[in-house]
Symmetry: C2
Subunit: 333 residues, 2 copies
DNA sequence: TTTATTTACGTAAACGTTTACGTAAATCAG
DNA sequence: CTGATTTACGTAAACGTTTACGTAAATAAA
């Protein structure tokens, strides 16, 4: 079975390639009978249009790109899930790229997408040092939508969660449950999300007359380091509450407490920004700020497809979805 | 800044498009000085080759497809992570498709990929009823590699784990820790992996003189049903051991025990096939059969790229990677 | 009936590359 | 120094679509 293209189809049908092409795209200028014949034969011959050829001619790739820091992360994988579902509903294809938080990798991806490979980009940015980004080069060419990890220095459509409020609520929750000395484990602190979470934490402390202590806010690193960093924090500062600003930091907290013989929540209460499905059956179950990851993916993709379908979309809107505080044992009495 | 294409580049350089194209691809028939000039100008003008045009002409898409049942699953997201890393190293792009276990969706994806959109496919198949698959149509056209969830009725390259042995080991582990009545929660039972896991379970029972009881092996459904199914199983059959053949079944087991007031591991011991990072901090920590998801992704992608680079690859090999039994509290005394 | 419009299709150019083929100049063999 | 080969580039066709333009026949308007 040789490759069947539109010309062979046309020859078989005694039609021109143009007519076949139009029939396949359900053009109004093709008769119903002809359309039916074409469809029938296309099915019979297993015809599938060559995407490169149609992209080249029509300047539509039927493909979107998703750029995230990591795929194997419950937030991002759920978001991608949402994106894929919407893309599929629109018969679009989804390209995946992971930056591993590397800004240069991110820029390289962006640049490689600027020549028609995709019709739009959804991105959650890498939290490297705030180096130069190539986002400005994208906007005149392609729709670019930020979700969760948005870029501050650019006017664009952004989907975020209410990070400030969530962090404020989380901190307040710890205070209300008796914490006097709450440590904050930083992550993604170069993004607005990270900054807002820090701000919410600090504001909640202030509103409850707790002095913000610099030593209680620590930077984090890779998986190996984090356990040591948290252990060190627990030993030197002896906090009675921990806020893990990103999911990856929750595990080191648990392991650090375990290794140091600290009881959660009796000795230390823990709350984490997290989408872990297993939060409810951890030992003890983990109080979380759960982001609506799936919905964020769907929302971001939904807006992108509105743009691609030339529907009206408010240009530089920032859409804020609410995270949810799920109280469990790790912040209990 | 208008779209810069190879012709504009050529005009700017007083060269022909052919020469520019060859220079960019580092052809041996272009002088070193010219190459340098071209590269320099390409960088300066931010030239990026139009992929559709080059795909159309060269019949290489520089893209692979990954088809999985679900993205938001720790096994698959880790596998995709591995795939993406290898693809990136080869400067390839990765398309993602999720079937939600639907065979027709899977077939539709497959068919849509047969006209040059991708250079190869990595797939972990949907575990729907064993309907007709379009895999045979792929093999003459594209390299197709199965990982984890492989398709039985076709000769192809397959990457699996030692499911039979792992399941045997898991069952034996429960027996050695005192279980007399071990229930098995089925999943993906239409795939070889599922069948092998069942076989390993049954064989281990037999080798330890435990009678296999049909009522102890239950089918599972969606998230909602599973909790009820497991509860029902625990109530009616009163097993003292549970084997969750897929990760998604571990949570319902925990919740079912919790709701019924059964203590793990005192009343019921639980072991699950799972790649959950949180297995170690569950309540109680979960004994798992952990599959090398990341490595499987890397291995599958590695073989695919060997094929794409025309290196010798044993045609219909099945590569078996070992899963690891990680003993934790849920199967303790 | 004549003219204008619509319907249904064909012709051919174009999208931006890659590559087979051709060729002048430079280099080499003898 | 002549002929053969190599080097470095140009010309033009091709990849498989889509679409602007053209046109004959059918229909509608007058």
């Amino acid at each position: 079975m040789d490759k069947v293209n539109i010309k062979k189809l046309a020859a078989e049908l005694n039609l021109s390639a143009a007519t076949v092409s139009r029939a396949l795209r359900d053009s109004h200028e093709i008769g119903a009978a002809t359309k039916a014949r074409v469809m029938e034969m296309a099915r019979k011959m297993n015809y599938v249009a060559n995407p490169s050829a149609s992209n080249l001619r029509s300047h539509k790739s039927k493909t979107i790109a998703v750029i995230v820091p990591e795929i194997a992360n419950s937030f991002f994988s759920q978001a991608i899930n949402g994106i894929e579902e919407i893309a599929r509903a629109h018969n679009y294809h989804v390209l995946i790229y992971q930056t591993h938080e590397n800004v240069e990798t991110e820029n390289a991806f962006i640049r490689s997408l600027l020549s028609g490979r995709v019709d739009g980009i959804l991105i959650s940015i890498a939290s490297g040092a705030n180096g130069d980004r190539d986002f400005k080069d994208v906007l005149p060419v392609l729709p670019l939508i930020f979700f969760d990890r948005v870029y501050e220095d650019i006017e664009a459509i952004k989907i975020t969660t209410n990070d400030y409020q969530s962090s404020y609520t989380a901190t307040k929750h710890l205070i209300e449950n008796g914490c006097k000395k709450i440590a904050y484990l930083k992550g993604i602190d170069h993004t607005p999300a990270g900054k807002n979470r820090i701000a919410g934490y600090i504001e909640a402390l202030k509103d409850n007359d707790i002095l913000f202590e610099d030593g209680l806010m620590i930077n984090t690193g890779d998986e190996q380091e984090n356990l040591e960093l948290v252990k060190n924090l627990l030993i030197t500062q002896k906090p009675d509450g921990l806020i893990a600003s990103i999911e990856d930091l929750a595990l080191p907290c648990y392991y650090a407490c375990r290794e140091l013989g600290l009881k959660i929540p009796a000795d230390v209460k823990i709350i984490s920004f997290s989408n872990l499905k297993t939060a409810g059956i951890l030992n003890p179950s983990l109080t979380t700020i759960a982001q609506p990851a799936f919905e964020m993916g769907k929302t971001a993709a939904g807006i992108l497809f509105k743009i691609l379908n030339r529907k009206d979309v408010e240009p530089n809107q920032t859409l804020v979805l609410d995270s949810e505080l799920v109280v469990r044992e790790s912040t209990g009495q």
